[in-house]
């Protein structure tokens, strides 16, 4: 197991390397001078020169990359040009609502989708399967932000239930926190649920073809035990896989949904930073989110190790 963990962690190094290069290149290889890009077209020559010194732009590019990477590895992603605070602390402030939203949406998605996928597989070819899968097909076709707008339209305009937008941090109590997050989480969880439903059904159908499912029935296990213990548990690996792979779409969706519901999360941070040309913040946010994706997928790989003994014992 330890060997497996070490191997998984080592395999992340090249991925993180690529991530770092892309993020670095984003600003430093931009056409023209990063300093003038950062300061905008109206900046004076003095200001530009000063910023160039500050950013170390007069040094050769590899050296710049090395020092940037070195700083990043120690958790220093620079300071926000707009607020002057370190990028990491700005990020963490805005990340909390996004994380809450993403987790809440993921939970809704899984709770809705796994039973739906299981039932669709069990009633394959029946009207139940058709209905659930049509629903899922429509579901993956409605972008989460659009779902959010439609929900607002429905709950705020037609039903007149307010408030539907805004945010309350966790410190105001879990109830209030979740109340404000409910509609955004449904918007985001909807497409996630649709996706997971499709994967769950496919995975269930594949597992159901295995001889061990027949063995389980031949032992005289109840239908529920056969489905849950000998089918769903085995189908969990592809389901986990899709949850890991869709982490980026989930965060991307969260960013836009926040914008719809006026939640002060990464979405607002990034849109505001684009308006303010606050490049260190943009760069840091992209880097940290990509890092989050890598961590989530590492975590999921480790869960495979727990769920599937074959993975754990390989090599």
């Amino acid at each position: 197991m330890i060997q497996y963990v070490v191997k998984r962690i080592l395999s992340l190094v090249p991925v993180l390397g690529v991530v770092a290069v892309v993020v670095f290149a984003l600003v430093h290889l931009s056409p023209g001078d990063p300093a003038s890009v950062i300061l905008g077209p109206d900046a004076s020559a003095d200001d530009i020169r000063q910023l160039r010194d500050e950013l170390g732009l007069n040094r050769p590019v590899p050296q710049q990359f090395a020092s940037w990477l070195g700083n990043a590895l120690t958790g220093d992603l620079g300071t926000s040009i707009y607020s002057g605070t370190p990028v990491t602390s700005v990020f963490l402030d805005y990340f909390r609502p996004t994380l809450s939203l993403a987790i809440f949406a993921q939970i809704i998605g899984i709770l809705v989708a796994v039973p739906m996928g299981v039932f669709a597989a069990l009633y394959r070819g029946k009207w139940m399967d058709g209905a659930l899968m049509s629903f899922a097909l429509v579901g993956i076709s409605v972008p989460s932000f659009l779902m959010g707008l439609l929900l607002i339209l429905f709950f705020a305009v037609f039903l007149n239930w307010l408030p539907v937008a805004g945010y309350a941090p966790l410190s105001e109590g879990l109830g209030t926190h979740l109340e404000y997050l409910l509609l955004p989480a449904i918007s985001l969880g909807f497409i996630q649920a649709a996706l997971i439903t499709r994967i769950t059904r496919a995975a269930m159908l594949e597992v159901m073809n295995n001889a061990y499912v027949k063995t389980a029935r031949a032992k005289g296990l109840s239908r529920a035990t056969v489905v849950i213990k000998h089918t769903l548990r085995n189908a969990f690996i592809p389901i986990l896989e899709i949850i890991g792979q869709t982490f980026t779409t989930l965060i991307a969706g969260a960013v836009v949904v926040e914008f719809v519901f006026n939640i002060p999360g990464l979405g607002q941070l990034i849109v505001n930073s684009v308006e303010r040309r606050d490049f260190p913040v943009i760069q840091g946010t992209v880097l940290l989110v990509a890092f989050g994706y890598v961590l989530i997928n590492l975590f999921i790989d480790l869960i495979y190790g727990v769920v599937d003994p074959r993975v754990r014992l390989d090599q």
Binding site: N210, A211, Y212, K214, T215, A216, R217, A218, K219, G220, L221, S222, R223, T225, K229, H230, R233, N234, V307, D308, P309, R310, L313
Partner: protein
């Protein structure tokens, strides 16, 4: 043998609804197995032997399968039972082992868990008791260091060991009937012999009946008391082993035996092969189902389907000409023609 059979299949028909239409995979099959008896069911793949065995266990998908006839287990018709009652019979009164040892055990659980689960499904023992019983059963199968094996996962065991585990799992509730669906086909020759020995030993110990499904007529001679030969969804010969090997009556059975390599057979000589191929279930011949491939076939064979008739006491055959063939009055006309 005792009077009432443990399992008595009467005129079983099994229809599948497929995309290409309805097929009848098992067509009017009748046979019975006496208590403590070993019945061999022999045939090529697609002859309906596995479908019959899964019909007994009611493992076929009920949404695409229709049954006719009766499967009486100890006098109770399995086809008329609900799922809950069936679950109590499966693994408890009737058990089954399968051919594919690689995928017949769930890779995510230890073999011990999977055996204990079988015991607990029939709710007779606490977890500790069940673990003890499982260990005893695994010991009885002759696996080396059984305690260690119980905590291992299927992929850590060899094919032969997995099949022993399957047997332990199937027998741990002391069933009265074991259905073994080609349990040795995927194993190498030495392991095959060991597994056969094990099945026979367990049969004696647990005093149970066995339905042994195989395409290998040689195995039948070794372990079975009676044999049912199947061809394209029908039983075409049903007899005691002695009677069958002394005097096979159906041309198909004769072909199977000639196709079997023996010590005396000359390795330089080609083994006998039955000509032609098994017809598709979608295209079942109107007359005798074997007529197209039979060296003795006549016009009558192609036009009318024979029934399973008693040739001697305890030996049944489905052939119009068995008497003439047995008496040597008919020759393998077409076969000779082809050879010449």
């Amino acid at each position: 043998m005792s009077a009432s059979p443990i399992i008595d299949i009467r005129n079983l028909r099994t229809h599948f609804h497929t995309e290409k239409g309805r097929v009848t995979a098992v067509d009017d099959v009748s046979f019975h197995v006496g208590r403590n008896e070993v019945l061999g069911v022999v045939g090529e793949s697609g002859c309906g032997k596995s479908v019959t065995s899964e019909a007994i266990m009611q493992l076929l998908n009920p949404e695409i399968t229709d049954f006719e006839g009766e499967i009486l287990f100890d006098g109770e018709n399995l086809l008329a039972l609900d799922e809950a009652r069936l679950a109590r019979i499966r693994g408890n009164d009737i058990s089954m082992i399968f051919q594919d040892t690689t995928s017949s055990l769930n890779p995510l659980y230890t073999v011990g868990d999977q055996i204990i689960e079988a015991l607990q499904a029939h709710g007779r023992q606490s977890r500790q008791e069940a673990a003890r019983t499982a260990l005893e059963m695994v010991k009885a199968t002759g696996i080396p260091s059984p305690e260690k094996r119980l905590s291992e996962y299927p992929h850590e065991l060899s094919g032969g060991m997995r099949q022993r585990i399957m047997i332990a799992m199937a027998l741990v509730c002391r069933p009265r009937l074991l259905i073994a669906d080609e349990p040795t086909t995927a194993l190498d020759v030495t392991t095959q012999a060991q597994i056969l020995d094990l099945i026979m030993q367990m049969k004696a110990e647990l005093d149970m009946a066995v339905v042994f499904i195989t395409h290998d007529i040689g195995v039948v001679a070794e372990i079975c008391d009676r044999v049912a030969v199947m061809y394209l969804g029908q039983v075409i010969e049903d007899s005691t082993v002695e009677s069958l090997f002394d005097a096979p009556l159906h041309p198909y059975t004769r072909g199977l035996m000639q196709a079997m390599p023996t010590i005396e057979s000359d390795p330089a000589e080609d083994l006998y092969t039955i000509r032609g191929r098994v017809p598709s279930l979608f295209d079942v011949p109107t007359g005798c189902r074997f007529a197209e491939r039979c060296p003795y076939a006549t016009g009558k064979c192609r036009a009318e389907a024979p029934t399973l008739e008693a040739a001697t006491d305890g030996h049944k055959v489905r052939c119009w000409h068995w008497k003439a063939i047995a008496a040597g009055e008919m020759t393998e006309s077409e076969a000779e023609l082809q050879a010449g």
